[in-house]
Homo-oligomer: 255 residues x 2
């Protein structure tokens, strides 16, 4: 529950023209200069949050909306007695805080895994974005629909896949998403900040059982659990075990 901190900063906000998401090649760039100009005008600053800090607290509201520029984190919900369910991971290009913007308040929390850089917008101006640049509004809907599709798959996983299938799916999923935005260097997932407890809370399994399930996958030689994270040795096999097709690889928009 460490509050988000804005580091002392020798850091300066990145102008949208130079937004790393544009040049990464993983996203569909703005359609035209007008869109770029509009987003520039919409952007109000940046948030630099440290690993382990909490970006949003469940049940609160926030006047801000963010697009993740770099780093990653996760969204989760908890039951009164502390049981926690991780809902999804947020990675570069993801929109954070849309729910809080549209509904009264956020029904989930968001926590950073690594240091994160986020592009900050004011939610009060969201409607303006829709009016002045409808195609950006359309893109936001697109992003929301994509998040929903991912949740569908998670729900299928937690509801119907066995522990091994589910774990295989989760690792494949994280690997695929991270790779799609170039989150980690190299080919293997540098899952570093993620503990087995995180995986367990995502999978809906206990910590102990998660550990034993990971071992099974290691014995099958499809992953290797390392000092600094998991190495995915055989993504195809992993998808195969999970019965998962992987992510569609289309360029996606961001705002």
């Amino acid at each position: 529950m460490t509050p988000p901190t804005t580091p002392p900063s020798n850091t300066r906000a990145i102008p949208c023209e130079k937004c790393p998401l544009r040049s990464s090649g993983h996203f569909r760039d703005f359609e035209n200069d007008e869109e770029l100009a509009f987003v520039s005008h919409f952007k109000r600053g940046e948030l630099l949050a440290e690993a382990r800090s909490t970006l949003f607290v469940e049940g609160t509201n926030s006047p801000h909306l963010y697009t993740v520029i770099s780093g990653w984190g996760f969204r989760y919900k908890t039951l009164q007695d502390g049981r926690r369910q991780i809902l999804n991971y947020v990675m570069p290009g993801d929109f954070v805080g849309l729910q809080a913007s549209l509904m009264r308040e956020m029904q989930h929390a968001v926590e950073c895994l690594s240091d994160m850089r986020l592009c900050l917008f004011e939610r009060s101006r969201l409607m303006e974005l829709y009016s002045r640049n409808p195609s950006l509004g359309f893109d936001i809907t697109w992003i929301a629909a994509r998040d929903e599709r991912i949740l569908d798959e998670h729900l299928l996983s937690v509801g119907r896949r066995t522990a091994v299938e589910r774990t295989a799916y989760l690792l494949a999923y994280i690997q695929a998403r991270a790779k799609a935005v170039g989150l980690f260097e190299g080919d293997d997932v540098d899952i570093t900040p993620l503990t087995q407890q995180h995986l367990a809370d995502t999978l809906g399994l206990s910590l102990v059982h998660t550990n034993k399930t990971l071992r099974k996958l290691q014995d099958l030689k499809v992953i290797a659990w390392r000092e600094a994270g998991v190495r995915v040795l055989d993504i195809d096999r992993l998808c195969d075990i999970a019965g998962w097709q992987g992510l569609p690889d289309e360029k996606r928009p961001f705002v």
Copy 2:
């Protein structure tokens, strides 16, 4: 897998002015005549689908988008070997087929529980809606964000709640949603077309265990399983068992 059928019809499409969703009092009506006019222009017809028919098949695409006018159904995904996970229920005011409109194809199927009447739009004109009437576009995003929030809660449920809590949540959820749109007459859920198999596939439990769990809830006198569905005897207690706050009761938009 019965294909959707369009009954012979003594039925005529309802003009938007007389849309029952407007007069039901459960939704926020159009802001002004312009919106109404635009939606009218956007509407391309109606689909009357019979109970048990499949509206969308997993993995296919469709040129149409729908708003549910009456009746209800459910969205689901399946694994290769047939294991099925029901993701959510669609009820009046819900948008169906947005994913297929934005992504290449629908990753889930939709099946009717009761006869349904749906308002039909063409997905090729969706962008036009955003451009010509941004606030309707905004509403669609709102609806998508709401769906996502519901999925978050389901995921928490399936991942972390016990069988009894989960079942209590599900029944409370269906009751609350149905009530919020006046789906059933009277106070108790006329869950008629829904079998325990449906509940099981939603809960991520086996049929047998679902049955035993329902019995526990009956023994607690919070529900009663009847010929024609479940009667929710004590919604507060149900929410309490589930540790669920219920749905926010704000008027919601529809398109």
